[in-house]
Symmetry: D2
Subunit: 131 residues, 4 copies
Amino acid sequence: MKKEDPAKKYFDPKVTDRERAIFEGGITLGAIYHQFIGIPITPNKKIVSLIEKTIKEAMKLQPYKKDVQVKININKLRKPAKNMPYSYETLKGEHLDVTVKTCYGKAKATLRMRYIPKLKYTLMYVEKVSP
Amino acid sequence: MKKEDPAKKYFDPKVTDRERAIFEGGITLGAIYHQFIGIPITPNKKIVSLIEKTIKEAMKLQPYKKDVQVKININKLRKPAKNMPYSYETLKGEHLDVTVKTCYGKAKATLRMRYIPKLKYTLMYVEKVSP
Amino acid sequence: MKKEDPAKKYFDPKVTDRERAIFEGGITLGAIYHQFIGIPITPNKKIVSLIEKTIKEAMKLQPYKKDVQVKININKLRKPAKNMPYSYETLKGEHLDVTVKTCYGKAKATLRMRYIPKLKYTLMYVEKVSP
Amino acid sequence: MKKEDPAKKYFDPKVTDRERAIFEGGITLGAIYHQFIGIPITPNKKIVSLIEKTIKEAMKLQPYKKDVQVKININKLRKPAKNMPYSYETLKGEHLDVTVKTCYGKAKATLRMRYIPKLKYTLMYVEKVSP
């Protein structure tokens, strides 16, 4: 951080840099799911890529993000029938594979959200944390 | 319409093409507000343009849309302070100026959503309908 | 209407009361889908009923609503496994059966949103309009 | 935990119970903001209380939540003018004061989201963590 964190005083002083990096990533994963689920989508590369980029660029604005990578699984999206106006679908958790990299002080965390078939659940987890 | 509308039978048969064009536009305006409000944003042209394009392309997938135009008022967005991680804001109705053009049978409608200072309200209205 | 509509002047003067009633209902259906999809939910009657009531009461605040009825199909919701923290799901269009009644001037409209298996689509339609 | 966590294997093994408790709370705060912002609301006690309860009960379904408390600041909500259909507003971050208590293994965390006037920002922070 180039500048002191003006929000630090609101946190329990026991919170470590690593915990903070993990916290900031958790916020962003929860935010992505609940902000973007529901957007109309088809397996059209232009639209898929636009939505991926928008999620990436918008969510990188949240504090202490180093990077956000968004992959929408185009194979899971229903192909629209020709001239059939009701055959698009809406974005769901199981379409998403998101990686958020955060950085706070000397700590770094990589957070992930993706659908885990075995759990039947779009899991958000801490893929890597350091030091 | 190149093909018969497979949903027509669910509608009250009294519904005219003009009413249907207006209905489809109302859905899209309500959807845009409640889907996209809350996205992190700054007055950065790249981000603003990405969000505009994503709203446009995603919402054009909804039935009977001829066009969707989205303008985010960049002047109303708070400028982030340098190195200040908490100075972006989130998209609000008052930032948006949206025009939706729909077409059903021989009817066309132009629907609009924009903030009306006099009403202190983000109004959705039928700007033009024909024939 | 007890009072003149302060937004009427923004509408194309050709718009009829019936069209307006339909428009206001379309907005609310689009809004409901895109606002509430994604809420965590289980087939617990207390939670289902709370979400139904919240959608109803919040959306009745939108202009020209006479009534909003919301039914979440509890049978379509996944039963959570005991002590299994990842077994709830999130609200989807196919869980919802919504009826919106609007009224503008002398016109009344009943709008509906429900999943139509034959279309594989959560359809929004005008169930009834009068006069 | 009465049962083993079936998602634990996806996490970096270095993640401590305290970090996990903090992570799960961050997810829920990010989710609450981006799911519920935009709901129509007025300073009517019945509606405010319904929305508070729905956020609480729905978000408690997310993993490892011990409690969720939601307070909407009724004094910050615009009073609707009589017979004026456009005078409600929509829920914003600055209306919310949310406390999330999480628990993972032997660790407990209290997470908070509230508007901080000095930062002009709806801050999410770790209020308390133990041991």
